[in-house]
């Protein structure tokens, strides 16, 4: 599968919910509109909940990729300032 190109990345595998989302959100805030953030997260609660929280914040989700090491990478395009 073709890799998605991104502008910034953040690893939230060192956080537990709800700080996973807080860390992702803070990273998104540092981006400009239209830029893409790659967020690496753990399987389980983070991957069940973080994408939805980011959708509810109004950002555009492009893809969730299974890294096949117990982590996933979510690609998000920033919407709004």
């Amino acid at each position: 599968m073709a890799e998605i190109s991104f502008d910034e990345q953040v690893d939230i595998t060192d956080k537990v919910c709800p700080l996973t989302f807080v860390k992702a959100k803070v990273s998104l805030e540092e981006l400009d509109e239209g830029q893409i953030l790659a967020i690496r997260m753990n399987d389980g609660e983070p991957v069940q909940n973080v994408p939805r929280s980011i959708k509810e914040e109004g950002h555009q989700i492009l893809k969730l990729e299974d890294n096949e090491d117990g982590t996933y990478t979510l690609y998000v395009k920033k919407v709004g300032d």
């Binding site: 399987d43 994408p51 939805r52 959708k55 969730l64």
Partner: protein
């Protein structure tokens, strides 16, 4: 004086006799767990003036004002009524309908729990039956309101369908689903209906709203959480409209009325009479 007190009538009106002679704990009707600020002020004033300056929150979202004296009962009723506060009920009848916050407020909600609790309460509250009968409404599978504890529990759900043309194959829903009902097959999202529990997480998480969810009610019957504990059972498919829901609720209450012995809870009636007759009746009501 004590000889003339009609405890059954007082109980029906929400006044529970206390251990302390001449005192009653007044149960209030808190439909769906909501009270207005004005309601609360009134309750607070009554508790200060007639009670001991405190209230007790019950396990079913109710409020009781303890230490109301027998001679103040009429005055208390009148003062509460002025503030829009109604007494609850105790004894063998339909109790106040409880609810979580539901889709009006909660991001996970699949149904308008408060609206439904009000409708149910209007229809059934206080109805005389062989024993107590409890309704509870919860907005989704998270079950904050513990639907299956109730004689008739209602849980919001969504029957979901995927618009494959709109799907951008991001795979978010596959992981958002906690039931393992979703997978990718031949490059397309596939759903295993036997695993789907109508939680609606796919709908809520899809970034392009490719999932469509039709809201409905998952009904459980015969929950009991007192001396004996039974989990209410779901005996029907998800119900899509209020009319059907009310037909089914009517049928369940009607069955209880027709078959229960006095002082027998719904679950015990179901066990004694056998579930076959009950299933037949609610299935008929479901079919319309």
């Amino acid at each position: 004086m004590a000889g003339t007190i009609d405890y059954a009538a007082l109980k029906k009106g929400g006044f529970m006799r206390q251990k302390q002679k001449g005192y009653f704990s007044l149960r209030l009707q808190v439909v769906g767990g909501n009270l207005t600020a004005e309601n609360i002020k009134t309750v607070s004033e009554v508790a200060e003036k007639y009670g001991h300056g405190y209230v007790h929150m019950t396990s079913r979202q109710g409020i009781e004002i303890p230490f109301i004296r027998f001679e103040d009962i009429e005055e208390v009723r009148a003062e509460l009524a002025k503030g829009g506060v109604n007494p609850g009920v105790c004894g063998p009848r339909v109790r106040t309908v409880t609810a979580c916050q539901g889709s009006d407020v909660c991001p996970s909600g699949c149904i308008d729990t408060y609206g439904l609790a009000k409708d149910l309460n209007e229809h059934y509250f206080g109805r005389e039956l062989p024993h107590k009968f409890k309704f509870g409404v919860t907005g989704c599978q998270n079950n904050c309101l513990k639907a299956e504890e109730n004689d008739l529990g209602i849980k919001g759900g969504m029957e979901v369908t995927c618009d494959h043309d709109a799907c951008i194959h991001c795979n978010v829903c596959v992981k958002a689903c906690r039931e393992g009902a979703l997978s990718v097959q031949d490059g397309q999202i596939a759903i295993d209906r036997d695993k789907c529990n109508f939680c609606g997480r796919c709908v809520k998480s899809c970034p392009v709203d490719a999932w469509h969810g039709e809201s409905g009610y998952i009904v459980s019957f015969g929950g009991l959480f007192g001396n004996h504990i039974y989990k209410g059972e779901t005996l029907l498919p998800i119900i899509k409209d209020k009319e059907t829901l009310f037909r089914v609720a009517d049928a369940a209450i009607g069955f209880f009325e027709d078959f229960a012995n006095p002082g027998e809870r719904f679950r015990l009636t179901l066990q004694r009479v056998g579930e076959e007759e009950f299933r037949k009746r609610i299935q008929e009501a479901y079919n319309g």
